[in-house]
Symmetry: C2
Subunit: 449 residues, 2 copies
């Protein structure tokens, strides 16, 4: 029999890992709920017709496809097929690739039952057949919140507050919320007289963090921009504080372009709504976010004291359900936390404090068989008081039982042997400071804390 | 463009459904944790070599298989293949079919890092390519707890207490915990001189609920048992209270058989451990549970005031990791709640009370654009006090905003217009009793409850 293993790019989450992950997930979920977001869950499997064509050619390649059940080959002329032509005949379903397309599909199917603005959050795994590497998995968790059916800048302001609240609760203080506006990018391309290269230019400047300003300039040259055009585009690359002055400067530089008006209006409104709440926010003209469907404000959050990519991103889109043929415009905005990177950042900065502190509070240690029955009602009392409580299942040597307690970071061992049973008592040992005392079985629970 | 849909047998969980499901899941999870169980999560995809051969032939048919990535057909002689011989060449991974095999696989891989007894719980979806029908889904949730590495009857007693605690917290009072012992079944077969038919007989008597005693007798006859043998087996079919007397009677009837000793010993010990805590427990000799790997006590929970199959089941097994070639014996015991059926039972008995009561507590209703900025810091104050709070994102008509509040069952509307801003006040409307009052913006939050 071969050694058991799990598929490349997937992971088991042991209890220790789960405790830390849940701390992150619960923190985000509680903050989402505190802003009135409601939970949605969608199936792991979607019809391939729902998924394909939504993530570009590359994305289509990365979809995990599920074989149809039954003897689906019996009517196929196999010899005429290659893998490209065979797949649509043998696989009609695929695994969810993100949480945005399922949201759009859900809203398209249920738009008449939904009260808009629809504020939903969704925390589920997604799957991509990417080449696995450090920090990149084939199964990973997304943690999305979206508001559909309103174009109010209040949503942008709320998401900034959500970021600040989540990171404050996680104890992560060194980060930057990068903001940009798609129309600002458009205005710069317009100003550089390179509107036709808009998509390519956004892809190039998005790489500024990796290839540097010189790299960006070189790549811009290679698509045919002259020195003046390149200079205009490069003006985006300085990060600036998000302020009325910055916006005013852009407004001047890019006056006369078609797109700048909307960008200026949105960003000024956002500044007004945020009030004094602009700490950790920068206006990053190089931020483009790959996805075509963004149309206005876009976000990215990057930790600043550890080398790691973005831990969250998002933005506003004009018409999410358009891809499903809906005519009513459903504009909205959403963000997504990358839980796995966030976990890695917190681990590296040692921000997990006490999240794995204890899997139980109390361990009853029976010294003989009879003691197990004696402990059972006492354990119930502890649980009723809210203590996570267990009884060691056999009268093993005390050392073995206390080792088990240590492995689960249990603070209180309640030892019961012949003499305790005789006197209707228990011995309570604090495993942190080593103190031990005896108590009768009526009041013992008051000694636990 | 075709109308969007989801695969057969899968479901979206809208916020209303999620709120109720989470009530069930959180209740079970909290009870598991209160007994010292620790959470494990495993990947949705497992290698097919891990999954196949573990669930019988029928189970293998029901595995969802995932297509390999890349051009995997280019080296295959397609014309020589049918679907049975093609699958192993194009699919190496499958979706999780239950949570028990992944647990065994995890323990086999990590046995040297695990402190035994290992108490783990796991709440994740599983997938089966069953024909979808009412109450049977292709994606459904399991909610398992297992203790590995001990054969103490304390575990059985703990699981009984877990059942009682969970159902009490859910408000479900009409149910039966059915218990049986595999060795009791074996002893009866031995007594009937039909040991060689053990598996077939357990399958037949397991159907007693559906086909009745006459049906069972007929099927037993059809496999060659004579009238006396049939009578011996039928003696199992009376449900009895779990008591020393019942056990004593079995002990007498089945004396001389090889297996009865262990069954009597275990059941007597369990009765001792449970003490007075035997309400809602019956000894059901017809309970067999299909799975071959059970070896001692087996459980099933059935609601008694609504027609529905079992909502939980489980039992003790001797050597869970044997299938992965491990020589050290890892015996254990586990139970699993069927969340979907439990949900249906609770819905039918109208046991969901207040679980969907509110997706938010407070809605700020701005009457003009300026009011939105005014509300923002006030909303933060409400959130800091623990109230789920949102601001309606545009100054729509009050009626529209209050309709939205009603759709989310929001209790408090805080209305802000020109006059409130001028006086640094807010108007607070209790949407349950209709009362409205004004307050300054320092003390307003004290009026909310």
């Amino acid at each position: 029999m071969s050694k058991p293993s799990i598929p490349q790019g997937t992971r088991d989450f042991s209890p220790e890992l789960m405790a830390k992950r849940k701390f992150i997930l619960n923190t985000i979920e509680n903050v989402y709920q505190s802003f009135g977001f409601m939970q949605l869950e969608t199936p792991a499997m979607e019809n391939l017709s729902t998924l394909t064509g939504k993530y570009g050619n590359e994305g289509d390649q990365l979809l995990f496809k599920i074989l149809n059940s039954g003897d689906y080959l019996k009517d196929l002329a196999l010899e005429t097929l290659d893998s490209k032509s065979l797949i649509p005949k043998i696989a009609e379903k695929g695994l969810r690739y993100d949480l945005t397309v399922p949201l759009a599909r859900f809203v398209a199917m249920h738009r008449h039952e939904i009260s808009f603005p629809f504020k939903r959050y969704q925390i589920q795994p997604v799957w991509r057949a990417d080449r696995p590497q450090k920090g990149r998995y084939r199964e990973f968790w997304q943690c999305d919140a979206d508001v559909l059916g309103t174009d109010s800048l209040l949503c942008e302001a709320d998401f900034i507050k959500i970021y600040q609240t989540v990171f404050s609760k996680l104890g992560l203080h060194d980060y930057e919320i990068r903001i940009n506006h798609r129309k600002l990018l458009e205005a710069v391309c317009e100003k550089a007289d390179a509107k036709q290269h808009f998509r390519t230019i956004t892809i190039i400047i998005d790489k500024a963090d990796k290839i540097g300003i010189d790299g960006v300039a070189k790549e811009l040259g290679s698509i045919g921009l002259d020195a003046a055009q390149v200079q205009t585009v490069l003006s985006l690359l300085n990060k600036k504080e998000l302020s009325k002055q910055t916006i005013e400067a852009f407004s001047k530089d890019l006056s006369g372009t078609e797109s700048i008006g909307k960008a200026i209006e949105d960003l000024n409104k956002l500044i007004d709504l945020c009030g004094n709440n602009l700490k950790q926010i920068v206006l990053d003209g190089s931020l483009a976010r790959g996805l075509d469907y963004y149309t206005a404000c876009i976000f990215e959050v990057v930790p600043t004291s550890v080398k790691m990519g973005s831990i969250s991103g998002g933005g506003r889109y004009d018409n999410l359900t358009e891809v499903f043929g809906l005519k009513e415009k459903v504009s909205g905005i959403g963000i997504s936390f990358g839980i796995d990177r966030l976990y890695d950042v917190m681990e590296e900065l040692q921000l997990f404090v006490g999240q794995t502190s204890s899997f139980a509070d109390v361990l009853f240690c029976p010294m003989d068989e009879e003691a197990i029955s004696y402990c059972l009602p006492l354990a119930d009392i502890c649980r009723e008081k809210g203590f996570k409580t267990e009884i060691y299942p056999s009268p093993s040597k005390l050392k073995k039982q206390l080792d088990y307690a240590n492995s689960k970071n249990i603070k209180w061992a309640i030892i019961v042997g012949e003499s305790e049973i005789e006197k209707r008592e228990v011995s309570i040992k604090n495993l942190v400071d080593g103190n031990q005392q005896t108590s009768d079985i009526v009041d013992f629970v008051d000694l636990i804390h």
